[in-house]
């Protein structure tokens, strides 16, 4: 029995203790490296392919061409792997039993939850911003190298689109984290995420097309990534409504994520471990 440890520090454990621990947890998982690596590779690969596909077209093709959106649209794939990463952060703890060890180490659940969501939010957002800028620069380099119209961060709306794309994908991953908190199973959380983000739009296409503009993937491509307004205000041709403004779109996604996290968080606090 070592005596040194017997003298516990004054006070009690705080959210900072848990934050340090959660950071270490994220950094020491192989799934972090795999999902992060996959997100980078898939995101940039699709970005490169999309940009490359826009080269050497007839001049009229570039009428209304949006080079910023073009360089970012490949990140839809990153939205998928990001969602998997977000869910795994929490469901991995449930499937392995680590969550019980966490709750035993820091039984005040609001503190544990705050640290978990905080670390996930900061890490995911920072990563998604880096990825978004990387995609933009890669895309523009390919477009300008191939003689197609290209943009710079100084182009109207470009910086806004790049920054918001990073935040938006991070919010999608956090929504998935919320599903993970609710469902506690990796398979179920990923299924819910894919269902909401990728399957729901297909279904809605058939039943209520105007409402498609409230669906995350549509907000992302039409409101967030876009820097040109193709249509005037009000209902456009064929009854298709104009996309939401970038600000409203981002706010809506933040609300989706907040609802998922709030419901998941409430269950996390109330439920048996």
């Amino acid at each position: 029995m070592t005596q040194a440890i017997q003298s516990a520090p004054v006070g009690h454990y705080r959210v900072t203790n848990v934050v340090k621990s959660e950071v270490l947890k994220v950094l020491t998982l192989r799934s972090t490296a795999i999902t992060v690596g996959l997100t980078v590779v898939a995101g940039l690969l699709v970005t490169g392919l999309v940009a490359n596909g826009q080269l050497h077209k007839f001049p009229g093709y570039y009428q209304g061409f949006d080079p910023t959106q073009n360089s970012l649209v490949g990140l839809i794939v990153a939205g998928l792997t990001g969602g998997v990463f977000g869910a795994l952060l929490i469901t991995g703890e449930y499937s392995s039993g680590t969550i019980r060890a966490s709750m035993a180490a820091t039984p005040k659940r609001p503190i544990l939850l705050t640290a978990k969501i905080g670390v996930a939010a900061v890490a995911i957002t920072a990563f998604c911003e880096l990825l978004s800028f990387a995609a933009f620069f890669l895309g523009q380099a390919i477009l300008s190298g191939g003689g197609a119209p290209s943009a710079s961060l100084g182009s109207p709306g470009a910086l806004r689109a790049v920054v918001m794309t990073g935040v938006f994908i991070a919010l999608m991953a956090l929504m998935s984290f919320g599903f993970g908190l609710m469902l506690r199973s990796t398979a179920a959380a990923i299924a819910a995420f894919v269902g909401v983000v990728f399957v729901l739009p297909l279904v809605m296409h058939g039943i209520s097309e105007p409402d498609l503009r409230y669906v995350p993937t549509n907000i992302l491509t039409n409101s967030i990534m876009s820097t040109v307004n193709q249509q005037g205000p009000g209902p456009g041709q064929g009854g298709v409504l104009q996309p939401l403004s970038p600000g409203i779109g981002l706010l809506l996604m933040a609300m989706y994520a907040a609802i998922a996290l709030a419901v998941g968080g409430a269950l996390f606090l109330r439920r048996d471990a």
């Binding site: 203790n17 947890k25 019980r100």
Partner: protein, 313 residues
């Protein structure tokens, strides 16, 4: 010291833990004994603040678990065989735990050494055998050098060497003055490890007593006698009040007489004894006897058993 007071937990219509009251004192190993599904794990999870009771409370050193200022420095718990992420190394598993409670990171290597896992500290824990995983779980409980330790079925799936190691380890912790609470459905294991027992069946308290009292309470005290003079012995022993029945292979089972008394009878009657073995009722017998009657236990009798346990302390 762990205390549970009127602890009750229901899952839908079934009651997993039913008005359970007991104490786990420091300085000894207290066994938590009951058949599978009797509510041992649920009780331990409630003590650790993982599951919420429907009514009643549990305290550790007078405080509910969530009120502990540095939980890992006060309580160590091994509640499931593999409560670690398979992709994380043993050392990293202990490091994140240490960070939560501001425990110096040198403790990580100390406890790994203590359980004999130093050489595999940087291997992913998912590759560990059951025994190694169990050792890692035990290392985690020791991280904060806590005064209270809980182990749920710690020897499950271990080989004989591992079982011996755990047994020795638990006794060592208790000898250092710590509170050690160990659940098991293996009665023989508890007989060797525990000083005291909290016995439950279907979530209800059956007995809270010392191991020796628990065994004594179930009666016992029979003697096995192997002899060629079966008929003569039977009549002679019955004559002085013995209750004799035929055992297997030319032996007799004698109740109500001691070995010396039987020896005297043999000497006086010139009867031959090949073997004379006192059969002490095993903990298992006592357990089976008590749990078989379990359904007949009424709340009042349970309170009686609890009170009897309290007096013995």
């Amino acid at each position: 010291m762990i205390t549970a007071h009127s602890l009750t937990k229901r899952y839908g219509a079934s009651t997993a833990v039913d008005n359970l009251t007991f104490e786990v004192p420091p300085g000894m190993v207290t066994g938590f004994l009951g058949p599978n599904g009797s509510g041992k794990s649920t009780t331990m999870r409630m003590i650790m603040g993982l599951d919420y009771p429907d009514s009643g409370s549990t305290l550790i050193g007078g405080k509910p678990y969530p009120e502990l200022t540095w939980p890992l420095r006060e309580v160590g718990g091994l509640l499931e065989a593999k409560a670690f992420h398979p992709a994380r190394t043993a050392r990293n598993h202990l490091r994140w735990m240490a960070l939560t409670n501001d425990i110096p990171l040198r403790r990580v290597d100390e406890v790994l050494d203590q359980v004999g896992l130093s050489s595999v500290a940087n291997r992913r824990a998912g590759k560990f055998s059951l025994g190694m995983g169990q050792r890692l779980g035990i290392a985690a409980t020791l991280l904060g050098d806590p005064g209270v330790l809980l182990f749920d079925e710690p020897v499950n799936g271990l080989d004989p060497e591992g079982i011996r190691w755990v047994r020795h380890f638990l006794r060592g912790l208790a000898a250092e003055g710590r509170t050690v609470f160990v659940s098991s459905h293996l009665i023989s294991e508890m007989a060797m490890t525990a000083d005291r027992l909290v016995v439950i069946g279907r979530g209800r308290l059956i007995a809270e007593t010392s191991v020796s009292d628990f065994v004594a309470r179930s009666g016992g005290g029979t003697v096995k006698l192997v002899t060629p003079d079966l008929v003569a012995f039977t009549s002679a022993l019955t004559a002085i009040g013995g209750n004799v029945s035929d055992g297997d292979g030319g032996s007799l089972t004698v109740e109500g007489l001691t070995s010396p008394q039987i020896g005297e009878v043999a000497a006086q009657g010139g009867l031959r004894i090949y073997e004379l073995t006192p059969i002490i009722a095993s903990l298992e017998d006592a357990f089976m006897e008590l749990t078989q009657d379990e359904v007949e236990y009424r709340p009042s009798t349970m309170a009686g058993a609890a009170a009897a346990g309290a007096k013995e302390r």
